[in-house]
């Protein structure tokens, strides 16, 4: 497949590159010859039906899964099969489809854990609740407008707040690449746009490359500059939202032919 000039980001400055990635789980092929080059500062979305290979791609990039073959380059450094924490330290963070929070800790403590982890010199002696740390954690919660929930544990948080907290934790280490796995899933329809607005606002000016997995085509069209459409472990389209929505194979395998233009469909 020929790759047109990617809008958003600098095409000469590739931050993340996947070359010939393959992954199979027994007889199921989750990634088949996946090739992609993501420019720095771009906002891309990943679409596809369940089992198409989106999350497998995210999991391979973030070290949760090791590809059977192929290479993943981050700033030209080979990170294939590296441990998740090392990949995070290099500058690739992620959030999860089901928010991965520390259930017994409050929202503030969750943020303090991520601040402590982001600091390579995390101390055995420096208080996790020092005035500076609490101020930084509170500031981050304020950025995501969830500061009012800071003393609540996960069980007491609404779904949207859990998502935002999960994303806030992912960006504390100032990542260069942020992968969001279905940031709006499980969130009420009326909260989806405010949630995405908040996330994009929080990332403004940080020059973070964002890739998010999404099923809502309105969200995809509104927030991403480019779309990767997955089907059966393969990328079947890699283009601007409008072009991808018009693509015959995307309409056939992803959107079910419901959307001739961006908007109104979900896959």
């Amino acid at each position: 497949m020929s790759t047109p000039e990617p809008p958003g980001g600098n095409p000469d400055d590739i931050v993340l590159q996947a070359k010939n990635l393959n992954k199979a789980f027994g007889a199921v092929t989750a990634a088949k010859d996946v090739n992609v080059a993501v420019p720095r500062g771009a906002v891309w979305s990943l679409i596809g039906s369940n089992g198409a290979g989106k999350t497998t791609f995210v999991n391979m990039v973030t070290g949760y899964l090791r590809p059977d073959s192929g290479t993943i380059l981050f700033n030209d450094k080979n990170i294939t099969g590296m441990e998740p924490r090392k990949i995070t330290r290099l500058g690739i963070s992620r959030s999860f489809q089901i928010p991965q929070l520390c259930a017994e800790l409050t929202a503030l403590d969750n943020m303090l854990v991520s601040l402590g982890s982001a600091n390579e010199q995390a101390s055995f002696f420096r208080s996790a609740h020092s005035a500076d740390s609490v101020a930084s954690a509170t500031e981050m919660l304020e950025r995501f407008r969830i500061v009012d929930y800071r003393h609540r544990t996960m069980a007491e948080l609404p779904a949207g707040v859990r998502k935002l907290l999960d994303i806030a934790m992912a960006i504390t280490g100032d990542p260069q690449v942020l992968l969001l796995d279905e940031p709006t899933s499980g969130v009420a329809a009326e909260e989806k746009y405010p949630l995405m607005d908040l996330v994009m606002e929080a990332l403004e000016g940080a020059n973070v490359t964002v890739m998010f997995v999404e099923h809502d085509m309105d969200i995809v069209a509104r927030y991403s500059q480019r779309v990767l459409a997955f089907y059966d472990g393969q990328i079947i389209a890699n283009d601007t939202p409008d072009h991808v929505m018009q693509d015959e194979s995307v309409r056939r395998f992803v959107t079910g032919g419901a959307a001739a233009t961006a908007g109104g469909a979900s896959c």
Partner: protein, 317 residues
């Protein structure tokens, strides 16, 4: 609420003063009981460190035994009887051994971690039982300790040992409280909740668990040195699984919220065991079991949760 920077040292000073004050008025048998309870409390404190990261060690008897044998062997072989030097050696040997074991153990969780720790302590038990050159199953006697050249006898010896035990327990407790409150300490609690998240935040779960295990070994070794010197005899039973079980009992009794609760639980266990042994010599384990059952039913998070509730109530008032 008081600034935490001052809270820990001030609490340590108050608790230490109270313990020493009590030492002046209690009889010698109670002083010995308290010394042993604090020494065992140190070992249980190690289990609590691991419990905060979601792990339970059924083999802390390993380090308790190492510490005790270090005190016995050093006194017999080299003539070193200074308690401070023996404590340092006991901690050092425990830490070296733990650093090696941590490489293996940090990759295991849950029952596998518990059983592996148990098996390591049972290997030591078996080895010591067969080593007749250091007493085999009979063990060996340990000389009375000296304190920077001071060699007390009789009640003065008991009091000196009690004083030293209170001092090191308070210092160790203070340091571990600082660790619990620290960035690394909070990360350990996060590991208990969600290991995956911690890895994806960039922290190494394995190294956090290794650090906790090594700290647990250090306090375990220290407890062993004190217990060996207090009893004046060491034998392989220190590493036997029932000894490790006692430490787990104390850790469950205390929960992982409060360090004071660990030592309080250890004292409670020693008192319950001593008196039930006296009044129900054949069924004291039954009394102990019922006692633990009551605590689990009424305070599922241990005595420490009670301390926490009281502290929170104090803060809100």
């Amino acid at each position: 609420m008081m600034n935490s920077r001052f809270f820990v040292p001030l609490s340590c000073v108050i608790i230490f003063s109270a313990l020493v004050g009590i030492g002046f008025i209690i009889p010698q048998w109670a002083m010995f009981l308290a010394t042993m309870a604090l020494a065992k409390g140190l070992v249980a404190l190690g289990i609590v460190i691991l419990m905060r990261a979601g792990l339970v060690s059924f083999g802390q008897g390993l380090y308790f035994c190492i510490g005790a044998y270090v005190s016995g062997l050093m006194a017999n072989w080299t003539g070193i009887t200074d308690i401070i030097l023996l404590s340092i050696l006991g901690i050092l040997v425990s830490v070296i051994l733990a650093t090696v074991c941590a490489k293996l153990l940090s990759g295991y969780r849950g029952i596998f971690f518990a059983m592996l720790t148990l098996s390591l302590s049972m290997i030591l038990y078996g080895a010591l039982s067969k080593m007749s050159m250091i007493g085999g199953t009979d063990g060996l006697n340990v000389s009375a300790p000296t304190f920077l050249g001071f060699a007390p006898e009789g009640r003065a010896l008991g009091f000196s040992l009690y004083f030293y035990t209170c001092l090191v327990s308070v210092i160790a407790g203070g340091f571990i409280r600082v660790y619990f409150n620290s960035e690394r300490g909070l990360t350990a609690l996060a590991i208990r909740d969600n290991e995956l998240r911690v890895e994806y935040l960039g922290s190494s779960v394995k190294s956090a668990i290794s650090a906790g295990y090594i700290m647990a070994a250090a306090v375990g070794g220290l407890g062993g040195v004190i217990a060996g010197l207090a009893i004046g005899h060491v034998d392989p039973e220190y590493a036997y699984w029932t000894t490790s079980g006692e430490f787990v009992f104390v850790a469950i009794l205390s929960g992982f919220f409060s360090i004071t609760a660990v030592f309080a639980s250890s004292i409670v266990l020693e008192i319950v065991r001593s008196f039930s042994n006296l009044y129900f010599p054949n069924t004291w384990q039954l009394v102990l079991g019922v006692f633990l059952l009551i605590v689990i039913l009424l305070l599922p998070n241990g005595l420490g949760s009670l301390f926490n509730k009281l502290r929170r109530r104090g803060d809100s008032e």
